[in-house]
Symmetry: C2
Subunit: 324 residues, 2 copies
């Protein structure tokens, strides 16, 4: 008898609630508690646990690794917010804004160490392998963040470079989580490779959809539209557009966000009009569809009973905000 | 046949030289190479390897853990330099000064992850234990750094609080290294506890001596005197002095470093005169002697052949810059 997706989430939340954090020094540990209890969808630990169970593994055994990936994820947010000067996280003041850069830095370090402390509780027979997957994943996330920062000051970012960046920055943590879950459950090498690809494609679809929604989402859903455009951020839409634009259009794409003569709304609508004209919205939506379908079809090829992939399919649909 | 201290250092340096670091993204990895090849005395890995060998362990087996502690140590320097706004490290520009805070932050993160990647190569039968020691040690170092920063804005730091801070910030990495070496060599629980105390006491003696030399060292040895005094840093000398001073002296101790009417030399000589008058130099030197002797006498009580402790005694003397 396996668990539903919602049960898995509940099991994870109660394991997290039982996590002990020291009280002193307060400025080291209070930000960790603040960060870990600040919500979040727990995507990565849920994927890890669902994958473990799909391959016949045990949720309780996989829980230390699930805690490790979630703590790691939150660690990256603390440090990203320093690098990005970001004051808001999940609708609340970021640790960086609330306590300052030094606290966010050192508490983040303590979180990364804490993630590994949980990882150390993984069964010794799989621990070295799980540590290797975790370490590769963690380095990829750092690489993705560095490429993302590199892109800020680069003129010609190719679509390929952009995809490689988000494969590290966004997908790696999902594919690493799925791979750890499968490895702990004793999945075959072939299935492990496949589940890694499943999560990679899903992560790419998720990130591209995030890019599209930032410009074309529904404000009624509470999401502020156009933030990426106003920051002049190099998203999939922007990178594609720059690569498809003629010289004059390219100039508009590059300069609009810092054009003081335009209001925010004017900037956003000007860029969105160009995105439509250059068909990059359509291209992005095709890519999302392609990646999402590819992810699901990889599940068809796993050696396990197909019924066991139902929770993973549901996870994928939920992630993309889809009913079916 | 065991190795001499110098042979151990050479073995470590050649293992370090063989370490592979990716080339891209350059801003993530170049600072790691810069930091790891920037010299340093390799105290922690040498202590780890010497301890392993003293207890009959194998240097080659312990090498991954030795690399891990040295990379971890250098990671702390990268992040400390951000927090302290420090431009110079080992006589060269710090990573923070050379590449900026964001690069030092993210490269530091990648170093911490890399440290754990090496740790993952430790023999699986001792890996969980080694990871626990490493994790506790790493968190203690973070705690020490946080207390050190807390002290900057605190008025009354007690001597006891100061000692607890340096036990974390300086000793923990030495005691953790020694404990990992002994654990990997299969030392008894009793010997592991003792070697931990040996390295703790030695680390305290080392840090107190560092505090004393910053104010009373020999400029002829190339060390700039008085840096701590000019920064108004809460060292052992300062904390002791504040606790022993009368109200007027306390005011001098607190305000001299930011008295714009005084030259640097005047500030330094004024505080040093007070340190002598309040006898805190003598107290510090007594403490150093006490801790150092205590460390050496713990070695007498180990269950191993006393001849095997010779390299550890030499390590302790070298660390303290003593001939005998």
């Amino acid at each position: 008898m396996t668990h539903t997706n919602n049960e898995i989430l509940q099991l994870f939340e109660s394991a997290l609630a039982q996590m002990q954090t020291p009280e002193e020094p307060e400025l080291l540990y209070a930000p960790i508690i603040y960060s870990m209890s600040g919500g979040g969808k727990r995507l990565r630990p849920v994927l890890l646990l669902l994958t473990a169970e799909a391959f016949g593994g045990n949720v309780e055994e996989a829980m230390p690794a699930a805690l490790a990936v979630e703590i790691f994820h939150n660690f990256t947010l603390l440090h990203d917010d320093i690098m990005d000067n970001a004051d808001v996280r999940r609708g609340k003041p970021s640790v960086f804004a609330k306590w300052g850069g030094n606290v966010a830095l050192l508490s983040g370090d303590a979180m990364l160490i804490t993630a590994y402390k949980h990882l150390a509780r993984v069964a010794p027979d799989v621990l070295p392998r799980v540590m290797n997957i975790f370490g590769d994943m963690a380095l990829e996330v750092c690489e993705g963040q560095q490429y993302d920062m590199d892109f800020e000051s680069m003129d010609g970012v190719s679509v390929e470079e952009y995809m490689q960046m988000i494969e590290r920055k966004t997908s790696a943590l999902l594919s690493g989580s799925a791979t750890i879950g499968a490895t702990m459950a004793g999945a075959s090498e072939d299935d492990i490779r496949k589940i890694y690809r499943f999560a990679t494609e899903l992560g790419l679809a998720f990130q591209l959809q995030d890019d599209v929604l930032d410009s074309f989402g529904d404000e009624a859903l509470g999401k502020k539209i156009g933030g990426d455009i106003l920051e002049g951020k190099k998203t999939f839409l922007m990178v594609q557009a720059v690569n498809r634009a003629d010289d004059m259009e390219r100039e508009v794409l590059r300069t609009t966000h810092r054009d003081a003569s335009l209001s925010d709304d004017e900037k956003i609508s000007r860029i969105k009009a160009l995105y439509e004209k250059l068909e990059v919205r359509r291209i992005a939506e095709q890519q999302i569809e392609l990646r999402f379908e590819r992810a699901l079809s990889i599940l068809d090829t796993l050696s396990i009973d197909q019924a066991r992939t139902a929770t993973l399919r549901e996870f994928a649909r939920n992630l993309m905000g889809r009913k079916k």
